[in-house]
Symmetry: D2
Subunit: 373 residues, 4 copies
């Protein structure tokens, strides 16, 4: 299975990082647990399952002790993400970010709490003011899209073992894409979607920073699919009698090594929609389209020895934000293409099938209608 | 145990409803499950427990089929509420609102999903567009404050049986207050806090509507407590060696029978802070202070037979919003007093004790310093 | 000069209204005043001027007496719009919307106040509560982008006569596009941009409502320009030594006859970015990209005789919002194309020139690379 | 005329700075221009005038060249402030903050533009990307409340000379309060309100930073007035036949020398409502209650030589934010009291009179009902 960069001489303005993945941001790791179980008729609460969980670790230390600056943005809020209120208030992440199927969010959030407690057994004890902390709690951040076309979502089968397995699986370098983890059962433009990732490096004159995106793609009507500006969905549509239900959602995770404050990371989040739109998304009425961005440039100690930190911070100069924004847009666009191209055909509950986007046909269409990018 | 209205000739401008409770809004029910288990030393994950769950039902039908208009507001976002993104996007509630201890939110949200599925087994099946619905999911709304001073919060003991018990307990009329449900283990101004409620009726010329508030109080330093404008906390403080940790949070639920759209319910939410401030709150850095408001004046069908509804809607005329806002402020203020006055002394994990606010002393202080309200 | 619909068999999903303009929403009128004055060297404060003002009237009655439901959304907030706070709080417009050059916003807002006072001489008098109004004020809503490449923006030449002339010019039916009104001096993808408009009609099964967009286009780098998915900017760039400064901003005004509340109009606003992205925008760091949406389906009386109104309201059913959102996206996309195609070459201050996008070359590129939309 | 600290042994927790004023933050200056002109019958557009303008300068250099980090917050958005969108996006102030009467906002904003252009004649010229700036514009920030009870607001008499006079008047040290500048014509709880200020110093263990507030008070019904927890408005009301119209608005400006990012300054802004509530405000339906906060701890260069800055930043540790928040609350509360106590009786248009709050009676009521603060 090719990645987008294998089938198209890149139409992009910015170069990709080494792995063209969110893991190009030093220290970031991604792990998956994939659940494929059962076949045939849906027995609510029993399967079949085509689902999973994907975790993004800003670093592999104790996230609660060493938080990272972060922001969240809601493009369309028809979704059930966990942890956004505290993320907005404090501008920081204190757990890994986990992605899963819609109704499974609470169970995954619960496991993130369990793990944070293991690593930080003082959670719930509290400190007096000289310790400068109160009764510690922890804010798990979980995103989702619905894999209900292929999987039994009533059962919520992703629990403690599954989340732990995903975290154990986390690694730097190449990221598994397509039908894996939280992307196991998702659909994109009527085809099989899933996990995709990409990265961009901004010019040295703007700091030479890296931006990476990872998506869980689960949106779009077949006729809307656009790749490299070519309206693929006007030419090829998925075989068979594809129902055309609620055209879904997307989770977008952005990482960067640029030293930004939460407000600036929010600016990056808000540019993700421009990458999403390039692929044909029309942000349907039922979509839960959410963006989370974090920076690895500095860490925020849980109980710092000093209330002041000296931090290098990047300004809001227009071309710098412009370059970082462009990196977000191109990373998101390519990550979505990768989520499609790296997927394979999956048959799930009730025999429902999502087909793999036919790469050769796409290649031909781009070649025919491609426009000299 | 007296309610506030028993100890003070009301300093308020607006009259209360029949029960001076959120249940004065016709159809609204409140239920609790209270967990008091174990004593002595904290064994993380095993107890002791002084916690629970409280549910607020906008109506006792199928909330998923008959949603209600709603809004949410974050005063200070250091908290872990569930369901706010979709609530904001769609301006509606489709489950009861549940309140519990901080780390227990995911487990309670998960139970609300279970119950919604039971009542609506098509969740997860999906419909084609002629059914005007996609793959159905459900958005559980759960609020929280931390009862970690008295209870083992690591264990997260509120699960399916407990939430079901709270829903079964739900009734109209008198609402149990103080050490009950989600208020079992919370602290307020260093005293025992908990659940409190109150209501107000606005003048007939503005529609004669009722507004009710229910709070889970868990905030404040002892010296800050203010009742009827009298700085009680300057005169009496809790006995013993009270640690002074993170001074907590509050959940505020507002109900009304006024026909308002979500934006207007948001206007009511934003006035809740003015009631909170009257009690002495200084909105500490670690507080998760959240407000949810809903109207019972009309229902929003899940799959309506007609895409258009004809609705009576209240305008934003200044005095009308002013009256509704005042009703919110006074209800929230009195609900917080009730949460204190109706509580009793509780000893929990590690022998930690939160004492009952001494009503007689409060009465005397109000009488002495009271000011002719 | 052709409109987009003249050069391309529409790649769109939804049909346009009669005029393919924001004026397809019954009652909406658009008027312009265009200021072209002086040539040659810039004498700050004295010209030359290539600027103007465009007004959008939801109806041609007294907007203060008969307000309309509305919402505003900020895609990127590097701009100086007026009136957004009250628009958000009350969810309504009470003046026409005016568009002009960046630094001219206060002067135009001031004129809107003058006009509102003329029509409503009680503004500033106030009423007692029985009149259900306080000291009346008025909230002018003005948007902007910077025409500083072609025009002296320091002078702020748009004042009372100019705004009145634009209002007098307002008419239904065909809307003047391109180099007119607030679009007189703006640039788009390095070419001459300006005013553009388009409309869409959603299917009868979703109510058959009309959505229209009007834009003041002033954004984009040459190489980014994309039309119908064809990367025009990779093939043709403006002649001459074009400086590449801050790549600008856009104002987007959305009108509809669908009966929506402010929250829902906000949902439409947030979809405008998806139309903007289709044209190649990367939402640069210095862009002020703002959206205002209003509905003409009902009016909100300033001092209603009854505090309750009975209103038909459209629900948030996913396909309905999806259709309205698609109508927004396609209207915005086509409106931007029209702003380019209907423009002509303009030379302004210091001999700076923005060339007309060469329509024939664009037509050929679309024909060559076009992809069977 | 006494300040609050002269009539009441402070009930506050934190000590005030040297001047108990926003000018206790080093470098901050405040200036006023006061317009008192004409008497008797209101001739719309001609007077009489009881109005003015107040400017707050974060520093007295070129604000456009040396911007300061800032945030804005809307408590209730029924108002016409200028500049909030860009302030939120970039988290910075690039002009002084000006306060004036409601309908005068555009004219004052226009003057701030004029002055910024004088100091920075390159505004409107633009730079290419190597200069890392585009066509420069400037974002004037202006707040307002309505002085329509005493003054002719239709005329908008505050223009260039008046704003320049206020800036020329700006000084550090003692701040003129009461009937001055933007407070000349405002009303508070039915009495004469106006400008007030106060400051607080947080404990050394939290950094020893100073927080100051300046308010333009124009809100409240007579019976709501509360001072030091004593319901003054239940005991004394303004003499004469006071109409009871729209109970107004407040502008709150917060300054600090604590090194905070914009998000954190937003946290401080959101605590201002708690100080406002202590004085009896019920946030009426027609109120425009806005907060702007800025830090003087570091400056943001307009075109920095380096895109990276090394900055000391304060963390979000709960007790630190708690202390800063308390400083905001107490400063706002006392600033409002000062705005009343330092005012004097003013008769304006149509003979409308706002009386001075009778200090001696207030002192007695506090003494009688005061409660041992």
């Amino acid at each position: 299975m090719p990645r987008y960069s294998d089938i198209e001489h890149s139409p992009f303005s910015l170069p990709a990082g080494e792995f063209n993945a969110i893991t190009d941001i030093h220290g970031v790791k991604v792990g998956h647990f994939t659940l494929v179980e059962g076949d045939g008729e849906w027995i609510p609460g029993r399967g079949p399952f085509r689902t999973g969980v994907t975790v993004i670790l800003p670093h592999d230390g104790n996230m609660y002790e060493d938080k990272v600056p972060a922001a969240a943005h809601t493009i369309n809020g028809f979704g059930k993400v966990a942890g956004f209120e505290q993320l907005r208030e404090l501008g920081q992440l204190e757990t890994p970010v986990a992605l899963t199927g819609t109704l499974n969010v609470p169970r995954v959030a619960d496991v993130l709490i369990t793990i944070a407690i293991e690593q930080n057994p003082h959670i719930g004890i509290g400190f007096d003011e000289s310790g400068r902390r109160g009764y510690a709690s922890v804010n798990p951040v979980v995103g989702e899209t619905s894999d209900g076309f292929l999987s039994d979502i009533q059962a919520r089968p992703i629990g403690e073992n599954e989340v732990r397995a995903a975290i154990d699986d986390a690694s730097s370098g190449v990221v598994k894409e397509g039908v894996v983890g939280a992307g196991t059962g998702t659909s994109c433009f009527g085809w099989k979607g899933g996990i995709g990732t990409a990265s961009r490096i901004i010019p040295d004159k703007f700091g030479g920073f890296t931006v990476g995106a990872l998506v869980q793609s689960n949106f779009g009507r077949p006729q809307e699919l656009t790749i490299s500006g070519v309206p693929i969905g006007r030419h090829i549509v998925p075989p068979g009698n594809v129902p055309n239900p609620s055209p879904g959602s997307i989770m977008i995770i952005i990482a960067t090594d640029a030293p930004l404050e939460s407000r600036q990371l929010g600016r990056l989040c808000r540019r993700a929609a421009f990458g999403l739109a390039r692929t044909g998304s029309t942000c349907h009425g039922g979509s839960g389209d959410f963006v989370i961005a974090f920076s690895t440039a500095y860490r925020i100690k849980d109980r710092p020895s000093d209330i002041l930190s000296v931090l290098p911070m990047l300004g809001d100069e227009q071309p710098v934000i412009g370059a970082l924004g462009l990196a977000v847009i191109e990373s998101v666009e390519e990550a979505i293409y990768n989520s499609l191209l790296m997927a394979r055909t999956v048959t799930g509950r009730d025999g429902n099938t999502r087909h793999k986007l036919p790469v050769e046909e796409v290649r031909k269409l781009i070649s025919r209608y491609g426009s000299g990018y």
